[in-house]
Amino acid sequence: MAALQTSAPPASPGQERRVIVRRKRTVAQRFRSDWPLLLMTLPAMAQLAVFFYWPSAWNIIAFMDYSPHRAFWDNPLVGFAWFERLFANPYFTPALLNTLKYSFANLLFLFPLSIILALVMHSVVSTKVRSVFQSIVYLPYFFSWVLVVTVFVQTLGSDGLVSNWLLGLGGDRLSFTSNPDTFLFLAWLQWAWKDAGWGMIIFLAALASINPSLYEAAAVDGASRWRRMWHITLPGIRPVIVLLLILHIGGILTVGFEQYQLQRDAIGYQTTEVLDTFIYYRSVIGTEGPSFGTAAGLFKGVIGLILVLVANNVAHRLGEQGIYQKS
């Protein structure tokens, strides 16, 4: 076996081993070496600056009596007056409670449905059946809420397909699409039809990353299908479940807009008013002005940030990665 050749001079006996301390590079040095990389990030930086950071800076108007007709610096600061007005608004708390209700319902009833669909899909061996099933479940995700609501009204509405069929049989009309008492179930049906497929795709991607040899080894050891799912599949997708859960908790005050806005007239505002529609009707097209809406938006953002950090912290304590690596 040939000796390993090296160009390094042999260490002379008695010579102390020198420790090489590499000096930290200055910013200028790093810039000289990294400028092509920085240049490549410029478009993304510009996009973030224009469409995210600049609009975010305008959150300051939540603390101003802002009017678009005045020069920016002429708008008087009013401290937390808009927040006081927001929290004192008698329609804010019901909107907040509705938001939390729909958000938790979505978490409880839709999140597991996506996981179940993904597991069912994963267990289907036939590629053809899998492809057809995937298309059917996934396609509604691309439908707009206008279409989804229209389909439900045309099918289950008071003058819809089912109602007229029931009338023909001597029955009564359905009031399903205009009944506030059953709206949560209606909303769940709409989520399930429209969004469950999208969640399923994400979990399917996670399932694909599980090493198949684990299943083979477990099968050889005599593990049942249920055991394989419990001990291999679910632990395999646990990081993704936790990640999505944290993101969902962060967005708990954002349950969507169109679904509730489109059904507001039919169901009534007391049931369909969520924070986003509250902001829209009071501020965007309402008479409370832009500062009020910005205060409400900022409230949502701050609560969302706190929830993400808390949920992530809990995930770390439970030994999960969360959305970023624990340092």
């Binding site: 009204v153 009309r173 205009s178 039919a266 009534g268 008479t287």
Partner: protein
């Protein structure tokens, strides 16, 4: 996930620091400054008469007098014959400017390449006015954002009922639109004789104060639309369907309910009513507009009156007894289509639906006839009829136009103000002969299919500015019927307690009123009980209603002393 390096900012502590700094920064900024109270949206009141800077009124002599003489404004005169039109403008100006004006549109917007638009440009002297047509259903609300962003072309048109959607319309007007005062004050009859012939009251209603607290800062900002007067809306009955079932036209609310019960058949797919919201309060004596009435020495809001409960009981009754279309709460039903199809018996609509039904039925080969219900009331009370109480609309121009551009646009407005009996009016209202209309056997223009689609749109160039006088026109039968209808209703016309003043309510009041409206619908459509009325009224009063009473009372006292 890769482990971030020590220098990565994407670490827990870094994130906490960034979040903490952000929150501290956001919270700290206002704290370090002296803070004042919110003053935005506190409401305003604007006097609309007694100015010395308005255009001097010079009567514009009509080329032909109406044959039905009414008592304007609530009982306009009418023409039962179509006169030979004569030109209103002798010296047509020579212009070449182009303007983009934002206007509301209900229905399908016609193509700008239609001959109608080219003919108008040629006839008015070369000024090209392109319309930016936006959905009329959402126009009032969404226009607030266009105005904030200064994105409405060279001008924008508003109906007077739309301005309440703006948190502070007075502030918007004086900061966004062109101050016309120096151009239109005094004698303008030489260049714009038709604008000089507009009623002084119309110009007075086009005034806003740059400083709401200083009456001397009042200026002219709007170009007024027509002052129509009379009822603008009505509930129309399918008289042929009533006759077929041997039912008489109802004359009281009680009779209306009986007819509705007799005619409706939920299982059979026919219902007496479509929408019943914005006009039916008048049947119970409730006030229009912002809902204030002067009773026993103080201003009282509709919701505080016992008649309010009666009105909601009526609406709830028709819902519970399935006399109203079950999908009406969705707000997406095409009421006119249902009325034409005979699915609903009564249609609440603008007064133009009277003629619209006739035209559309003829074009589509349908049979049937409609007529508006008269002045209804419940429990034998004196009827109350809502009437138009101000100019129908304004056109505002953006403030950075040049004086020459504004003058050219006023040339166009002068053209658009030509009254019935002129060639200008004929072109604007009926279009191009042979393309948009043909003369019928009685000499009255009859729209072609193209004209019905392009020219008969409710808003276009013909509504950019008001006519010097407003008449009832159309087919002889329709003119006669409308003339008699107005004559029958005029004695019950609601008196405007704020005549001579435009009062804009505080933002809180507008917001509370919107919620009250939502709650009314909850009761009307069975989603809330009538027993909740006292609570919702109290909530309304606590959240803007009571404060608004002071605001409106101050305005009332200023007017009446």
């Amino acid at each position: 996930m890769a482990t971030p390096s020590d220098g990565s900012i994407f670490r827990r502590r870094s994130l906490f620091k960034a979040a903490g700094l952000g929150i501290a920064g956001a919270a700290g900024l206002p704290v370090i400054a002296a803070c004042s109270d919110i003053e935005t949206g506190s409401g305003s009141s604007q006097e609309t008469s007694g100015f010395d800077f308005l255009p001097e009124y010079k009567e514009w002599p009509l080329p032909v007098e109406p044959d039905l003489i009414g008592e304007p404004p609530n009982h306009p005169s009418g023409f039962t014959t179509y006169p030979e039109p004569v030109p209103a403008i002798e010296n047509v100006p020579s212009n070449s400017g182009t303007f983009e004006i934002t206007v509301p549109m209900w229905g399908e917007a016609p193509s700008p390449s239609e001959p109608y638009f080219a003919a108008i440009t040629e006839a008015c002297g070369g000024t090209q006015v392109n319309l930016r047509q936006a959905d009329g259903m959402t126009y009032a609300e969404t226009s607030v954002q266009w105005l904030n962003a200064n994105e409405f072309g060279d001008g924008i048109m508003f109906f007077s009922w739309m301005t309440g959607s703006n948190p502070n319309f007075q502030e918007t007007v004086v900061n966004t639109f062109y101050d016309l005062t120096d151009i239109v004050k005094g004698d303008i009859s030489e260049r714009w004789p038709l604008l000089a012939g507009l009623p002084t009251a119309s110009w007075g209603q086009s005034v806003w104060s740059t400083d709401p607290k200083d009456p001397d800062s009042a200026r002219v900002f709007g170009i007024p639309g027509s002052f129509s007067g009379g009822p603008g809306n009505a509930v129309f009955a399918r008289t042929d369907l009533l006759e077929a079932d041997g039912l008489a036209m109802p004359t009281t609310v009680e009779e209306l309910l009986e007819v509705a019960r007799a005619w409706s058949d939920d299982a059979g797919g026919r219902w007496a009513f479509g929408g019943l919201d914005y006009l039916t309060p008048s049947w119970f004596g409730l006030a229009s507009a912002d809902g204030w009435a002067y009773i026993d020495g103080k201003l009282v809001h509709n919701c505080e009156r016992p008649e309010y409960t009666e009105w909601l009981e009526f609406r709830r009754t028709v819902w519970d007894e399935k006399l109203v279309h079950p999908d009406i709460p969705s707000g997406t039903l095409d009421g006119q289509a249902l009325h034409k199809a005979g699915t609903i018996l009564f249609q609440l609509d603008g007064i133009s639906w009277w003629q619209g039904f006739v035209d559309q039925a003829a074009a589509e080969g349908l049979t049937g006839s409609i007529a508006p219900l008269g002045a209804l009331s419940a429990k034998g009370r004196e009827p109350l009829v809502y009437v138009n109480q101000s100019v129908d609309s304004w056109t505002f121009l953006r403030k950075d136009l040049s004086k020459e551009q504004v003058e050219e646009f006023l040339d166009f407005c002068n053209f658009a103000s030509a009254p019935f009996g002129t060639t200008e009016y004929e072109l604007l209202n009926y279009g191009v002969e042979g393309t948009d209309f043909n003369y019928g056997p009685d000499g009255v223009p009859v729209y072609t299919a193209s004209g019905a689609k392009v020219v008969q749109a409710p808003v276009n160039h013909k509504t950019i500015s008001g006519h010097v006088q407003q008449f009832i026109t159309g087919t002889p039968d329709m003119v006669q019927a409308r003339f008699e209808y107005n004559a029958a209703l005029k004695d019950f016309a609601e008196v405007n307690i704020f005549e001579g003043m435009r009062v804009e309510g505080p933002a809180d009041f507008k917001s509370a009123a919107q919620v009250l409206n939502d709650q009314q619908n909850d009761i009307a459509y069975g989603r809330a009980e009538l027993s909740t009325i006292p609570d919702m009224v109290q909530t309304f009063l606590d959240n803007g209603g009571e404060a608004a009473r002071e605001h409106y009372t101050a305005a009332y006292d200023k007017l009446h002393g």
